[in-house]
Symmetry: C2
Subunit: 331 residues, 2 copies
């Protein structure tokens, strides 16, 4: 009886107090206890400890995350490119002019090289125009919603929004629990990501910075609509990322997480000569078994060469996916 | 003696309890108790009362405010135009090429018509280029800070940031106290407004949507800087306002406050066919004694004609500055 009581008491104490006794349950349990994890938790402790020189006021705790390859997978194609191809497949049978377009044919043949050729990926822009313009923002949202509900990743046979990284989902929550505002700063389309960013990442639309095409305001039958165009396109990649951060957030982040050379400028802008303490983090895809392994020769976009070289001199943390992450996907 | 005690007692009770007895002290005390004020407080009560069909979740309580003529004065010139002229005056003696520019000469002569001519105000853009580009964002911030600390309004002889409207300052606080996020959505420059938006309005930089020129990211002596350009300019006015709201916020507001035809599209986008309850508000400058009186023939920008006509059919509240505001300026 005394033993039973002791057990009950222990259970009861545990329910109410155990977690907070020797620290709460690990909020980063999907991370192995390696130097990468330590560098992040030490940084967060540093900037949140009051009355120290490194303390950063909550309003300045801005963390920016790339999306493709950083928060979710980006192979064999960035998921927005998969959306483009699926949309073209869906529409081509009913739309002869669309089906006759050489770039549509390249996309439907899976000729990724043709689409990604050129510095600004002109082929991709062409099929982006065909799938991302000429409709209202509401119509576009509906198409992305429909696609996300039905499309499945070719290798993992899951909806794309179930291919987010569990360690990163935990990191987003951990940062928010420590007073950070988490932003996406991605080359992907802002309108595309905002359809699911709140549901999938807990990141509201106003904290999603991405590539954008201008919209055209109209009253249609007396009702306001915004029609998507590519009249001017802001490409939120490479040097565009610091510009996008300045334009949309107006503050320098103190934490930046990316996975490719396209994120290098964002990490520089965050960590070099920043008057506040700061941290840069790169995800290195080293896990062909559980996900993918690539850097100089990625399956699609997302090359990681110069940013990796810049990591050591700049003190950036490099996440070795295979060794630093206990699990990879969230579900 | 008994009288004195009674008075003391009343004062004492008032200090501790008066305000909260029959409702808290009026958060909109600078507003007269007119229909305009009622329409705002009734709207706020409606959307914040839980378990009613009109309840709006806090994350969707987005309120957008024009700045010039809505939150602070805009006569005899929009204050950013005053900054431009003062900057040209400051620099012209040392910079002969600048001093020789015809548009600089127009600005220094006070030839506002020349600057504002054309649909896109080309003259203004020219002097904007001269005063807003070619320097880093940090350098620009410093120039705006210096100007704000020294420049004074020609009529009121006060620093420009002391010419914000007290009733609107109260409205911003009242909305935030009721779970709204308050945004500026202004034709003014985002970089210009962000220098003082937090201090002056309690609005953080990430909630300031304004006109923007692209910035160019560079490493200078190994340090990241953003250089201001006008390579592409987003003009956050007229039909640009709904586009800007979509691009920067990604949600439809439920409350929009403006004062000119430049705000009409923003009010339409907020109030017409919005699935949530919504309110549009226009400030009508009717008070030549305390501020200015204008609509069809404004002293500079900010014409109010078509938006005023659209107010009644759309159910927008029109603030008659003279009759609806008990006080005008904050300080």
């Amino acid at each position: 009886m005394r033993n039973l009581l002791a057990v009950l008491l222990t259970v009861l104490l545990c329910i109410t107090g155990c977690a907070s006794k020797d620290g709460a349950a690990d909020p980063l349990s999907a991370w192995n206890d390696t130097a990468a994890k330590d560098s992040i938790t030490e940084f967060v402790k540093k900037v949140t400890t009051a009355d120290t020189p490194d303390f950063v006021a909550p309003e300045d705790r801005v963390a920016v995350f790339d999306n493709d390859g950083t928060l979710w997978a980006e192979a064999p194609l960035p998921f927005q490119a998969a959306f483009v191809i699926d949309e073209l497949k869906r529409r081509a049978p009913q739309e002869p002019a669309l089906a006759a377009d050489p770039m549509v044919q390249a996309a439907l043949k899976g000729d990724v090289a043709a689409l990604l050729a050129g510095d600004r990926h002109e082929g991709l822009l062409r099929v982006l125009a065909l799938t991302h313009t000429g409709m209202t923002t509401d119509e576009f949202n509906q198409r992305v919603t429909d696609w996300m509900a039905t499309a499945r990743h070719p290798r993992f046979d899951k909806p794309y929004d179930q291919l987010t990284y569990e360690p990163q989902q935990q990191l987003l929550n951990y940062l928010r629990d420590n007073g950070f505002r988490t932003y996406i700063v991605s080359g992907g389309g802002a309108d595309f990501m905002r359809v699911f960013s709140q549901r999938v990442y807990g990141i509201p639309p106003e904290q999603v910075v991405g590539s954008t095409g201008t919209t055209k305001y109209e009253l249609r039958d007396g009702k306001p609509v915004l029609v998507k165009t590519l009249d001017y396109v802001f490409v939120d990649d490479k040097a565009g990322k610091p510009s996008g951060i300045h334009e949309f957030i107006g503050r320098r982040p103190i934490l930046a997480v990316g996975n490719s050379d396209g994120d290098q400028a964002m990490l520089e802008y965050t960590t070099i000569d920043n008057p506040r303490p700061s941290l840069g983090v790169l995800v290195h895809h080293t896990d062909a078994d559980r996900e993918y392994a690539y850097d100089a020769n990625p399956p699609s976009s997302g090359k990681l060469v110069t940013a990796l070289q810049a990591a050591e001199p700049n003190g950036w943390t490099v996440i070795d996916m295979k060794n630093d992450w206990k699990s990879v996907f969230s579900q």
